[in-house]
Subunit: 479 residues, 2 copies
């Protein structure tokens, strides 16, 4: 048992030290490696395969709504970045600058894109002329760079992978509709594919994107009670259009500015999957983003017939479109079980001589630990059913955890007490003044996560200053 | 006819000015747009969709051979780039340097990856310990930067998209086998998917990759008789392993250096597709990389029943997995025909009231211009057949063009005459000395494209110096 123990003991307990547990998971499940470039990661095959599954399923959803993919340069000339005042103020402090190309210094320095609003505006100014050219609904999959001081695998790193959608519309209404449509798509994606329930809402002015009129967000609750902003969708109105002079001729032959949006999700979602679902045995992947959905582990694999039976099951499942792996290595079964749990594969199939004699095998669920004996002839039907059940159960479990850790406060002492002692979301009323947001942050380190679309009236008064409340806000400590 | 004429007239004749014809195609078929960043492109939806189809099909082939995808940082510290002497000499003159991160100057400057051998070596040095860890067969899809002085859409730009595979093996034989395997995969891909026939061979020492022991290449011939290096696969031996100290313990418990390879293809392939297949009417896409394989163009679309019939055909083809588009716009049919030809969609379906009455429609092939009348009830069978026929015909046409433009020379005057007057490949014998390569380049601007695997003995003597020949070489002017 030495090896199994080594593997399991190597993970810090999730209750004891969540941050260390997280670091253990990302390295022991071989999702990432650290690189020679400070603050930048290597995403290893087990991690990148999750990202590929996210990409594929999100991209399909995008295309159903008319999104077209493009690729923009990774560099932005300084003068272009500076065109929209709020935007440059938000990003300039954290960009990386290229100052030399080949053997010569550059005439104008170029930043490595932290986000590409300015490049898309530059493009739209060139290619949008008439109302017939609208809407433009472009997206790109790429990496971006933000020169962060403190970094954490997937959650905050100097370079990360994401998609960024950038659209141009004829009217303010069209832009608002697209902004909301993409937020809803993100929320559905998180729930259906990642089994992560989210709160949809609007960011306060303090927390919105640099240059946006409105930022909408989806907020998820992690196992440790901290919030993770999991996707954002911004409505820019026509502010960027005015700065970049993006105009079109409308049906009455009048010049009009376009209205714009942008929206993005990133590899941060992988961090969310880890922190919502993982446990002391390791990673726990929802079937829809599990690169391996079931691993077949032969017992006493040297006995005649065992490997053959395992291979037959493997073929059947492959034909059903299941992502299956047969582990024929010479490691002991106990070690393979631990490994399956560590890597978060949703199910494993155990099959040995006795099972074969009985015409059965055992399916073990990663989410519940439940062992189910099924007839070998039914395995190709059972596995898809069980994977569906796991996907649903994981979402429900996460939702219960989120609901149990969502509190309400109508009084400031109560509010502070919850923030200090009960990790989770706190719903509380807010007057709309940034001073109260600042005070709350200073007193508790919690920030306003969003003003949810589903408002409740908990009281008439701001939880902080007691003035007339304008909105209910979700507050929490956040990644 | 004014609009149709405008669209077609706008393309320069392919015979008259090939370079201008190429520029016209990439802009008028809306594959790219120029950006504010000199030497960097915007790849627009029609161009990026081709890249997505290349990626998908190439990636599937990779995975069948055990390739695993990863993502590495885009930055390389100067000290890491410098570890392998030949490699840094090859790349340092053309890299972009980041010298500032956020508001502070960096302690060590970082180059934006021109290629990632050094990063993969750094990773492998960390994660390869035992023979059990080998082979490592990693690949990444990303963008790279090379600070070129003169640029051309898809063919040479300061930033481009590509895939780069990097592998580590226990033995020299394994590395050589993987190098060849990937070259063969590339050649198959070009022929089967892009309908581009290629010559497989080895680069001369002068033309090989910086740091490689051997570089293998596939070379294609463009319509204008120039060569395009379309994919390369490098065997590094254990040179990088020694520079980066990548060692493993073998079965006898001895320390050994690993043997490495790398291989890549890029968006340059899109340039190849344009230059091999295009004509005076525009782009001509092989069905397997055509984002739209057939466009349905209703004739007299306001007459009752026309749009309904077109929609029914559209549904049937979609269900068959055909990438189909119904053009219901208010442009006239003649304009839509020109547009289909310009954009290179392999087929169009014309359907009007008379056709509907007869229960037929017309399929027009982009490759031959042939018009085929088919029964509407058979359309879902006919279109896939015709697309297959087009794919095959395009490869055959390209092969004939290549063969007709491949010459042999055994005498230097003859050689120079061919290079000057007959655009194409010239096969000629070579003594193996770089002096002859240099002289040929100086005299003719032609370079050695490769020493083909299929050698012929045209004579005993080097075409340039008359000394004993060591190999037959394909020579040509190249992009």
């Amino acid at each position: 048992m030495a090896e199994e123990k080594k593997m399991v003991e190597a993970i810090t307990s999730i209750q004891e030290d969540f941050a260390q547990w997280y670091t253990d998971i990302v390295t022991k499940a071989e999702l990432i490696d650290y690189s020679s470039v400070k603050g930048c990661l290597v995403i290893k095959p087990a991690g990148y395969a999750i990202w590929e599954l996210i990409q594929k399923q999100l991209d399909e959803k995008f295309k159903e709504t008319g999104v077209e993919n493009v690729y923009m340069p990774m560099f932005i000339p300084e003068s272009l970045l500076e065109k929209e005042k709020d935007h440059v103020e938000g990003f300039a402090p954290e960009v990386a600058w290229v100052t030399q190309g080949g053997l010569e210094p550059l005439q104008e320095k170029l930043c490595v894109r932290p986000t590409s609003e300015t490049l898309f505006c530059d493009l739209y100014a060139n290619i949008v002329h008439s109302y017939r050219d609208l809407p433009k609904v472009y997206n790109q999959w790429c990496s971006v760079v933000r020169w962060e001081k403190t970094t954490r695998p997937f959650l905050r790193s100097r370079e990360f992978l994401w998609q960024e959608g950038h659209t141009a519309h004829a009217t303010a209404e069209d832009a608002e509709a697209r902004t909301k449509q993409m937020l809803n798509l993100y929320a559905e994606f998180c729930e259906e594919v990642l089994a992560i329930p989210v709160i949809k809402g609007r960011k306060t002015d303090k927390e919105k994107f640099a240059g946006a009129e409105a930022t909408y967000t989806i907020e998820a609750l992690m196992h440790d009670g901290k919030a993770l902003q999991s996707g954002t969708s911004h409505n820019f109105g026509n502010g960027f259009a005015k700065a970049f002079n993006i105009q079109y001729t409308d049906k009455d032959n009048k010049l009009q500015y376009v209205y714009q949006t942008s929206w993005g999700m990133s590899t941060r979602l992988i961090g969310g999957v880890i922190m919502v679902h993982g446990d002391d045995s390791g990673l726990k992947l929802p079937p829809r983003v599990a690169p391996v959905q079931t691993v077949i582990i032969p017992i006493m694999q040297n006995k005649p017939g065992v490997i053959d039976a395992a291979k037959q099951i493997c073929e059947q499942l492959k034909n059903k479109g299941i992502r299956v792996k047969l582990d024929e290595s010479d490691k002991r079964p106990g070690f393979k079980f631990s490994e399956q749990e560590m890597r978060g594969f949703p199910t494993r199939i155990e099959i040995g001589p006795k099972d074969i004699e009985a015409g059965t095998c055992i399916i073990c669920r990663r989410d519940t630990g439940e062992k189910i004996t099924v007839s070998i002839s039914e395995i190709a039907v059972k596995i898809p059913e069980i994977l569906d059940a796991i996907q649903k159960n994981m979402l429900e479990t996460a939702r219960k955890h989120r609901d149990v850790h969502t509190y309400s406060a109508t009084d400031y002492d109560e509010f502070k007490d919850i923030i200090d002692n009960k990790p989770g979301f706190v719903k509380a009323m807010w007057c709309g003044d940034v001073e109260c947001e600042n005070k709350i942050k200073e007193d508790t380190t919690a920030t306003s996560r969003c003003m949810p679309f589903e408002q409740e009236k908990l009281s008439d008064k701001c939880v902080c200053c007691g003035k007339t409340a304008k909105a209910m806000v979700y507050w929490g400590k956040a990644y």
